[in-house]
Symmetry: C2
Subunit: 244 residues, 2 copies
Amino acid sequence: MASSSSPKPSFAPIKTRRAFEVICEQIREQLAAGTLKAGDKLPAERELAVEFQVSRSALREALRSLEVAGIIRNVKGAKGGAFVQTAEPDRIVQAMQDYVHLGDISLGELTEARLALQDIIVRLACARATETDLAELEAIAERTKRETSVEARYACAVEYYAVLARATKNRIFGIFVDSLSAILHEFVRGPDYETLQQSLIESRFKLVRHLRAKDEEAAVAEMRKHLERVHRHVRKNSKAAAKG
Amino acid sequence: MASSSSPKPSFAPIKTRRAFEVICEQIREQLAAGTLKAGDKLPAERELAVEFQVSRSALREALRSLEVAGIIRNVKGAKGGAFVQTAEPDRIVQAMQDYVHLGDISLGELTEARLALQDIIVRLACARATETDLAELEAIAERTKRETSVEARYACAVEYYAVLARATKNRIFGIFVDSLSAILHEFVRGPDYETLQQSLIESRFKLVRHLRAKDEEAAVAEMRKHLERVHRHVRKNSKAAAKG
DNA sequence: ATTTCTATAATTGGCGGACCATTAAGGAAT
DNA sequence: ATTCCTTAATGGTCCGCCAATTATAGAAAT
């Protein structure tokens, strides 16, 4: 930003890249290029260390990084090794959770984003949900009724949202929803949550009926009403537990 | 699933958790609890190793994991150490990129999600963008005109989207947009991209005019038209380079 | 011949120590 | 006051070792 008139020194790129970074980079490249695919097994740590001409420690840090990033899985024992993982959105969720914990995101932003997101999802699901999807949603709602613990019912709710997102046939939305669910979970507390849960179940059935009837606007309205109740509760209870 | 009648064995929690995982967990806990805040400095590696009663290697793997997760930053030298980072969405973007590279997500899903997302963003920005935001958008569009290289103009486009997302006053959308931008960047290739870029600039000015006039529907329509042109190009060029 | 047990080898997980490179701070020389 | 050198702190890397775990092959029992 400063001194855009100066002739751009651009000395900078000294940047002593660390060994493990280079290794990660190379492996990621092979991944993007398709040389490495899910299920492939990387050579043993000691072999890789020789190949990359680094110590085993450095290589281990690289593997650890990739494991934490969800790219590989390190399995111990004979026939063990580093296996390229199939894609799982868990790490994205984790990253988002970390981001929120580092304190930049407010509850209001989370709920607003969720509301907007579910709008899209409901509309898409309305257009694309198969009968299988709808039946699954109903089954989950039914199961929620039978569950006894608060936690179990909450798990059902998360699953309901996940299945709904899957009904859009677009996995991106599933990732977003999972992330927001995981983060908002931390706020779901309070004594009156149990009674709220009960009254939310009916709303889930209503939503399925609207979806089956392909009544997009009614479905969206139902979802909004539903979420606004949940968020009102969340906001109230987080205010009580607020640190600020 | 099997034998739900049996009295819940619950032997399970053997699970030899690895040393570095336990360490990461504890530090993450302190982070969520607020005991650790951005800017704080963790003790030196050697001290921490003693405190956690693990070897320095194991501790280093934990720190490395946290660094890769974007939670801390390791700085070398005297007065160096592990510093808790301020929140940055880079890691989320990285995680999403990894997820896509692992092969689960199609281009169609990406573009559809982007389209839907920009719909929301434009609507929110229309309601909330300040004159400062709008001026910044115009400045970026102006700058795009003056840039000569394809890459530089693309960088301007990314920035334009980022500022637009910021105008919603909700950082969640910024993260989503950044992620999709980074991923879609890989597909932006082809000889006719340069001419496309030129014609896109006008669209950006139009969008700002609609936003300033608070004409939500016109703004959304402009953005859709804009993105659909881009995506048509991307799809055409990725088809040529498809591996399947 | 088949099953079961056992020993072995391969492999990652973890540990401890040593040395190097980089950085900041303070003191010495100018 | 400025510059240069020394020193200490710290992360980065490397090496060697042992422990834990698991597939596999071979031995033993049926």
